[in-house]
């Protein structure tokens, strides 16, 4: 209990630190001024969301392979947390895009595939609510999670090839891309903070899912 409390405290402290750094410490951007500061929240949440979905994919594979209930719990915890972070991305994106590009939304590869990723994991959670039996629910949702995860790169490829005039990637892009060195510490702090916060949420949600499983088992025994 004390360990979890400490973990939560560290996660929140990191998020607060990252927010302070991105709002007050990081330098102004040349063309966008203070507007770009949402970038730190937007990109770090996007990365944390993708990490959560990747862990979800691993948990899905492990469930199909090992059939341990804990992997099902991990899968649903990661899917929900990843969905929460992706929701933040989908909300902060348009807030940033309106003043920067003049429009809230454009059907660019990253935007569209993020949106489809979001829809696929909503379907994943929806599927879970519609299967009664616990083992079957775990297996079917794990399999759908696997299909959904392998679909996302294909979606991205399709839209990037045919339907986009996207801006070049800033991080890990070509030779002339990249962040100003003065912005880097803030950026990596934000990424770290969001990942720690994500891990904290997953641990909490996982604990909740295990508890729910136990309650269900006890209820069945009592009714038995």
């Amino acid at each position: 209990m004390a360990k979890r409390f400490l973990f939560g405290l560290v996660a929140i402290a990191l998020v607060v630190g990252a927010a302070y750094s991105s709002l007050l410490i990081a330098p102004e951007e040349r063309t966008m001024g203070a507007l770009y500061r949402i970038f730190f929240l937007h990109v770090s949440c996007a990365w944390a969301g993708l990490t959560a979905f990747s862990i979800c994919f691993a948990a899905n594979l492990l469930y199909v392979w090992k059939r341990k209930e804990k992997y099902d719990g991990l899968g649903v915890a990661c899917a929900e947390v990843g969905l929460a972070f992706t929701t933040v991305v989908l909300i902060t994106g348009p807030i940033w895009a309106k003043p920067a590009w003049g429009i809230y939304w454009t059907w660019d590869a990253r935007l569209t595939s993020t949106f489809i990723l979001w829809l696929l994991y909503i379907s994943y959670l929806l599927l879970r609510t519609l299967v009664e039996e616990a083992d079957r629910r775990a297996l079917l949702s794990a399999l759908f999670g696997i299909f959904a995860f392998i679909d996302v790169p294909i979606v991205f490829g399709a839209i990037r090839w045919w339907r986009t005039q996207h801006p070049a990637p800033v991080i890990m892009g070509g030779a002339n891309s990249g962040l100003d060195t003065a912005m880097r510490p803030t950026f990596w702090l934000a990424v770290l903070a969001m990942h720690v916060f994500m891990a904290f949420l997953i641990v909490e949600r996982y604990g909740l899912e295990r508890m729910r499983g136990e309650v269900e088992m006890l209820r069945q025994e009592a009714e038995g």
């Binding site: 929806l126 399999l143 090839w161």
Partner: protein, 225 residues
């Protein structure tokens, strides 16, 4: 390899015979596509030259919607008639069941598409005759992808509540890449100076191979009792 193929062929024959005895699936899907195409035409100006640009997208959208209805019965029938376990024990590899159902679904979808193509061409004022081989190829690789993902998702949704609603909700986002790629290829083929986008055909083929491989690896778990 050989027993897999002979098992799959036998089940494929069963699927096709069952369908052609009643032709229920084909006839209702064709009526559905027809209705969708007519309703689309009310929402857009079909006389403009623009129709060459948007018509193929509408056509594929209609096929996608139709497929989410068409894939419903392929496992549901086995479950309601309690024939799934018999089917499972009759084959050495459950992938044969999937291969057969995918082939049958792809065939039914392709038949619907081919019957709808002339109607569609007349209603939306596009020509297809000169480019027919290319269109046929696009329909084939596109339908194979739709049928593969659709059969997999149908195996999932039949085991859940509200399955009629669940199947499109699970399937349509998965099919987004097919819609993008096949629309682009068809737009090229139906444009005033038609051209073939082999890149798009290759892309669709990659989708087909990826989902067939995923089903080959994980299919048996989908049919666990």
């Amino acid at each position: 390899m050989m027993p897999l193929l002979s098992n799959a062929t036998a089940i494929f024959g069963k699927e096709v015979r069952t369908e052609f005895r009643s032709r229920e699936l084909l006839s209702s899907t064709i009526v559905f596509v027809l209705i969708v195409v007519v309703l689309f035409s009310f929402t857009l100006d079909t006389n403009s030259n623009e129709s060459r640009r948007f018509a193929p997208g509408l056509l594929w959208l209609a096929f996608l919607f139709a497929s989410s209805l068409m894939m419903q019965p392929c496992f549901l029938r086995e479950r309601t008639n309690d024939t799934l376990s018999a089917l499972r024990s009759s084959v050495s590899d459950t992938f044969a069941i999937f291969l057969a159902k995918i082939a049958a679904n792809a065939l039914f979808l392709l038949l619907t598409e081919l019957l709808m193509l002339p109607v569609f061409a007349v209603m939306f004022n596009v020509s297809f005759v000169a480019q027919f081989p290319g269109i046929l190829l696009t329909f084939f690789v596109g339908s194979l992808g739709i049928a593969t993902a659709g059969t997999a998702v149908a195996a999932i949704s039949t085991q859940a509540r509200m399955r009629e609603l669940l199947l499109p909700v699970l399937l349509l986002p998965l099919l987004a890449p097919i819609l993008v790629a096949s629309t682009e290829v068809t737009v090229g083929l139906m444009s005033p100076d038609p051209f073939m986008q082999w890149k798009g055909i290759g892309f669709l083929a990659v989708f087909d191979v990826v989902f067939l491989t995923a089903l080959w690896l994980f299919g048996e778990y989908l049919l666990e009792e």
